[in-house]
């Protein structure tokens, strides 16, 4: 039972708190206002009697915006749509906060503008402006014609003029108050006015004239100042609309640029694709031709190789038969009655068929006997041929070394004077 009462008490307290949130004093004017986006703190707005702004850009969509005091009391907020704008104007006692949320596919943007309530002097000034506004309402076209800079100059000039007028009036009053005569009572003063000297009267009239002129100038200045303010308002409005149009243009341009870039990229990709295809085809054709050529070469090489193999086999067969013939001939040598070199050469000729004897010419050193010459020829297993101008033809079985080397060898022998192959 105690728990139920406790719970009911808690519920009542929560309801009281919810009920009282609009009635209690919510905020100390000097405290900053905490700004939360999607229940996450993103910054604060200064609330010290001056205008303040806060711009926040989020990657995610902005679902909710909340404004809280430093105590955590929820002052206001808004729920934003998934796409597009939502603005709201929140009144916090006398101040106002304008919230603007813009959600796009790329994220959300919050713009918060704190506008404090105008001060006493601000309200007085506004009253003056309203009065002059009514005065100048008859000349709206003229007001539009001037620029914002002129308006600012007018404001400054008017303020300076007003300050001079006030200083002049104060100085005048001070001069009167500081005169040594006791200040007469209003009644006495009224009575004594006719008695004042003509010079004093003239001076007062002159001062009154000056004040009247000043007043007229102030009126004019106020009128021109109002013009300036109107121009400023218009300029601000124009600027806002320009900004909006620029923002929308930027978005459009971004979209267009995106589209163009996309198209360009697609075109380039297509061209690159075509070029790549062409190159690939060319390379493939070339490769195929080269492959075919290579295959043909391999084919012909294989055929040549086969032919050569057959020839080698034939040669080997021939060689075998020659070897057999040679062995037979060697076996028949003892039976032969004439073992002379000529016969041997003839036998070799008959055995080897096409094998020719090696023929060369030599001259012998002076004093070499015929016997030594014959002995040398027999040593070479050759036989002598014709004799021509001192050169003796000699025929032998082809030497195992190349002819030049053979000639070098025999030139080194004592009885040989010179040796050559041709006559």
């Amino acid at each position: 039972m105690g728990q139920e009462e406790d719970l009911e008490l808690y519920r009542s307290r929560l309801l009281e708190s919810l009920n009282g949130r609009s009635s209690r004093s919510l905020r100390n004017a000097s405290d900053p206002i905490q700004v939360y986006i999607n229940e996450r703190r993103v910054g604060e707005l200064e609330g010290r009697g001056i205008g303040a702004t806060l711009q926040v850009q989020c990657v995610d969509h902005i679902d909710t915006v909340q404004l809280r005091t430093e105590e955590g009391i929820l002052l206001g907020g808004l729920a934003a749509p998934e796409q597009g704008f939502r603005t709201d104007r929140l009144r916090l006692s006398v101040d106002t906060i304008e919230l603007c949320v813009h959600n796009t596919a790329q994220g959300g943007t919050l713009s918060a503008l704190f506008s404090p309530a105008p001060s006493f002097w601000g309200r007085v000034w506004k009253g003056i402006v309203d009065v002059t506004d009514r005065l100048t309402a008859r000349r709206p076209d003229t007001a539009i014609a001037y620029g914002g800079a002129y308006g600012m100059r007018t404001v400054a000039f008017t303020q300076a003029l007003l300050a001079i007028a006030v200083v002049g009036l104060v100085a005048d009053r001070a001069t009167i108050w500081m005169t040594p005569e006791p200040t007469p009572s209003p009644v006495v003063q009224t009575a004594s006015l006719p008695a004042s000297p003509p010079a004093e009267t003239a001076r007062l009239e002159q001062q009154l004239d000056e004040v009247a002129r000043m007043q007229a100038k102030i009126g004019e200045a106020l009128a021109s100042q109002q013009n300036g303010i109107v121009q400023l308002h218009q300029a601000v409005a124009k600027l806002s609309s320009t900004q909006e149009s620029v923002a929308s243009s930027v978005v459009m341009v971004k979209e267009e640029v995106k589209e163009e870039v996309k198209e360009e990229l697609e075109k380039r990709l297509e061209a690159v694709g075509r070029e790549t295809d062409r190159t690939t085809r060319h390379v493939a054709n070339k490769g195929r031709i080269e492959q075919e050529q290579l295959e043909a070469a391999i084919h012909s090489l294989t055929a040549d190789n086969d032919r050569l193999s057959k020839e080698v086999a034939g040669l080997e067969e021939n060689n075998q038969s020659l070897k057999a013939k040679l062995q037979t001939a060697v076996a028949n040598v003892p039976k032969s009655a004439d073992p002379s070199p000529e016969r041997l050469l003839k036998m070799a000729d008959s055995m080897q068929g096409n094998q020719q004897p090696f023929l060369f010419w030599v001259t012998f050193s002076e004093g070499t006997s015929q016997e030594s010459i014959d002995q040398w020829v027999n040593g070479m297993k050759g036989h002598k041929g014709a004799l021509n101008e001192g050169w003796q033809e000699v025929r032998i079985i082809p030497p195992p070394v190349p002819p030049d080397r053979f000639l070098e060898q025999i030139r080194g022998e004592k009885i040989i004077k010179a040796a050559r192959i041709n006559q």
């Binding site: 808690y10 309801l15 993103v42 909710t64 105590e71 002052l75 808004l78 729920a79």
Partner: protein, 293 residues
């Protein structure tokens, strides 16, 4: 007796009839913010019960419900939280049907991952106190600064020294402390459903079993901080000592220091001594939970 019974029956019947009328008014389209405020303010009890019922159902469906007063209070607290947000944000949605808008707002909250910080130990008085404190710190700078006091027993001067704040920020810290003592602490306790008896019992535990009390509190505050620190800006992660040192030396990141060090026991240990401008510092701070402001 018969008369009383009849009166009760009549009262119940009247109540049912009022409730039906309220619901049908909330189901109709409201066109202006003023109309929204008027109709919703007349239906607060019904809306609170509705949000509480949704929260109970969510807890049941996620296996987090238990039939006890702690869970009832938890559901009530979050029901009130949703209702407050609805009161503030719903008026910007006009024209709308308030009842459907309210249902969608609660459903949207419950469709988020971990819509609230639930832990069975956080439903007990000590846990509720810690949870309420840290949860409040997320939406209230006063409560955030008060965490330094409730966690370590520091006053404004020590907070300023530890966080290395300048003159202007220092003045603000004093104001935060004063407001918390004046109204903030009591409001938070009320919103968490902490009774005087529970607070007195916490005080007793603190006196009698200080070590155990602080040890339990540290475990709970870590659970709560881990959940609520998600409300910090994304660019406020934990830092190394050298990174903290750079921030303190160069004097930037006042908000970073104030927020993160209040909501992270570990970083407080890491950054300990950096804000005191080289003056002698004592032992690293340990959690000494303070119940009173």
């Amino acid at each position: 007796m018969q008369l009383t019974g009849m009166q009760n029956t009549l009262g119940k019947s009247q109540s049912m009839s009022d409730r039906t009328a309220t619901v049908s008014r909330l189901e109709e389209v409201v066109s202006t913010s003023e109309e929204f405020d008027r109709i919703v303010s007349q239906a607060l009890p019904m809306l609170l019960d509705r949000a509480t019922g949704y929260t109970k159902r969510f807890l049941r469906e996620t296996g987090q419900w238990n039939d006890d007063i702690e869970h009832e209070k938890f559901a009530l607290r979050w029901g009130a939280e949703y209702l407050e947000r609805f009161l503030v944000c719903g008026r910007s949605e006009v024209p709308c049907r308030p009842l459907f808008l309210f249902d969608s707002l609660v459903a949207k909250q419950h469709s988020k991952p971990e819509p609230f910080c639930y832990h069975p130990d956080l439903l007990r008085p000590l846990g509720r106190f810690v949870d309420g404190l840290v949860a409040r710190a997320v939406v209230s700078r006063d409560a955030l600064i008060a965490i330094y006091h409730h966690s370590y027993g520091w006053g404004p001067g020590e907070v300023i020294a530890v966080t290395g704040l300048n003159g202007l920020e220092s003045q603000r810290i004093y104001k935060n402390f004063r407001r918390w003592r004046d109204t903030g602490w009591q409001r938070t306790m009320d919103e968490m459903g902490m009774t005087k008896a529970e607070l007195a019992e916490l005080g007793n535990q603190q006196q009698r079993h200080r070590q155990r009390f602080n040890s339990e509190a540290e475990q709970l505050i870590r659970v709560a901080q881990a959940h609520y620190r998600k409300s910090e800006p994304d660019h406020y992660p934990c830092l190394s000592r050298s990174q903290w040192g750079e921030m303190f030396t160069q004097g930037y990141g006042c908000d970073y220091r104030i927020w993160h060090l209040a909501l992270c026991l570990d970083c407080m240990q890491t950054a300990w001594g950096l804000g005191s401008s080289g003056s002698a510092v004592g032992e690293k701070p340990r959690l000494e939970l303070q119940v009173r402001p």
